[in-house]
């Protein structure tokens, strides 16, 4: 996409018919000013990112390799923090939870989001209003909606238990957040609830770029709606799906707020994610080095995801 409009489309002197007097001076001057202008334009953004991402990232690596605590500069300890984290059973639970949480929530979000996008792609009255309403869970600050869910899951006053009981679906109350086996799934459900609209609206935008004639042609050839979805819609939507899924994996894998509000990592540390446990250790207990080491565990995973996406998209563009 990017490279297509580069060659030849620049403001080269050949295309513009500049006045004869500056025809020779122009290219050199242009190149010169183009470089210095680019430097000026990119400086503020790059400076901000260097100071507030690159520098803290490097500091984070130093922290992870040192015994730094609040009020104590610490000294180099090598891989001790990383090894300690690996042998910490709560951290291992957190790592496992993070993987489960990311996998299931994204699977559910993709399936539900795709379904919702296909439904919203049908023309009907009030579609604008419905689209705006559907986006609400994604817009509202996670902390605030997670609070509402915590209240809906409340063991004594739970409206969800009330609904399920009076709907005849359960005979006993469900321990949404109080039972270790249920709590992580409850968090996955809330994450799915929150992320589905983003999937739906982005996939909807992708669907609208698909030429309807392709579907008509496939229908004329006798393809049913499922076949049309699988052989026409899905391949065309693939780049959009990849972007959305990767974006969402990064967000879900590094999630903090939802679990912090919903369970605080409980009951008995069973629902910690890497980020919530790193917070508890690094900020709560003031063990900056150990906390930083734990959050660094996320980095290789995130890097792999991002890198494979870049590669994949480049290949798609190359085709």
């Amino acid at each position: 996409m990017e490279s297509k409009d580069r060659p030849g489309s620049g403001p080269g002197p050949g295309r513009l018919l500049p006045s004869p007097s500056d025809r020779h001076a122009l290219p050199g001057r242009l190149l010169d000013s183009e470089r210095s202008l680019a430097f000026l334009l990119l400086a503020p953004a790059v400076a901000m990112l260097l100071v507030f991402i690159a520098y803290p990232f490097a500091t984070g690596i130093w922290y992870a390799l040192s015994s730094v605590r609040v009020g104590d500069a610490g000294h180099f300890v090598g891989l001790q923090n990383l090894i300690a984290a690996w042998h910490d059973s709560i951290f291992r639970t957190a790592l496992r939870n993070t993987i489960l949480y990311t996998f299931w929530a994204n699977l559910f979000k993709l399936i539900l989001g795709m379904g919702l996008a296909l439904l919203l792609n049908h023309p009907f009255r009030g579609v604008r209003l419905v689209r705006a309403a559907v986006l609400l869970p994604f817009i509202v600050p996670t902390v605030l909606s997670a609070l509402a869910w915590r209240w809906m899951f409340d063991p004594t006053f739970s409206v969800l238990n009330w609904l399920l009981y009076h709907g005849g679906l359960i005979a006993e109350r469900l321990p949404f957040l109080s039972d270790a086996r249920w709590a992580l799934w409850s968090a996955i459900a809330v994450n799915t609830w929150r992320g589905t609209p983003f999937f739906a609206v982005t996939l909807l935008a992708g669907l609208q770029t698909i030429n309807p004639e392709l579907h008509e042609a496939a229908a004329l050839d006798g393809a049913g709606s499922w076949k049309r979805f699988w052989h026409v819609t899905r391949p065309l939507l693939r780049p959009v799906i990849i972007v959305v899924v990767v974006f969402s994996i990064v967000q879900t894998f590094s999630d903090f707020q939802l679990v912090y509000v919903l369970t605080g990592g409980g009951p008995a540390n069973s629902t910690h994610l890497v980020a919530t446990y790193a917070y508890q250790v690094g900020i709560g207990a003031g063990l900056l080095g150990e906390g930083a080491a734990m959050s660094l565990f996320m980095f290789p995973v995130l890097l792999t995801v991002v890198w494979s996406q870049l590669r994949h998209l480049r290949r798609l563009e190359g085709v």
Binding site: S9, F52, V143, A148, Y260
Partner: protein, 283 residues
Amino acid sequence: MTVERRWRRWLLVYLPLAVLIAGLLFPFYWMLITSIRPDAELYRSWRSPQSAPLWTLAPTGQHVLNLLTRTAFPRWLWNTLLVAAASTGISLFCGLLAGYGLARLRFPGAGPLGIGIFVSYLVPPTLLFIPLAGMVRSFRLGDTPWALILTYPTFMIPFCTWLLMGYFKTIPRELEECARVDGASRFQAMVRIVFPAAVPGVLSAGIFAFTLSWNEFLYALVFLSSPEKKTVAVGVISELVRGDVYFWGELMAGALLGALPVALVYSFFVEHYVAALSGSMKG
């Protein structure tokens, strides 16, 4: 034929759509109903025979009143707005310049720099909050809005840059070239011709940046400590929950009021968003 089709349409489109929408919107209804329900009804076990949690016959404004007069909620709202506005301003400024540079100028290192900015978007706050907490402490920015105003742009700038870069590519180069033929310098053409044409892109980048900032929680939780300095998300969690006691009426009123500003901003722009996304995909 038509009768059968209509029936199928109801079963395959409207019914699933209604179920999904009800599921997506129920928590908001729940916030609303909780925030106007008197405590006596609020704290009644779901098993009790009088329990009728889906509506209330005795709505009260007490929770909202408590929230606005007995807590620092108006202050939190103001802090959130201030931080969001300032960090959005910084991010738009940086993103506008960088987006133009990357979309329009040819210079050595443009490719890697673009990818670098893109990748920095994917560095989550949860990876950086501990070292940043150290930095904020050593710069003596702790417990000031500056701690957030300066750190929020880290996730907003990459986003604004990429969105605006895409937008600049949709603006025909001829516009600029004409201005330059007429004697404008490159810089003048950029500021007078291209930037005004990019206003819709700037607007949508601004809206998203604003909501990103409004939603941020972790940095605000770590960098701020005094109750009157907090943002809505942090204030609601830390000041309306005392130990094990949750003031649910006030909490839900706070959640609703805290969500309202972003919801309003967004609802005006959802069509614009879908259209912009489709546009960027077609491009």
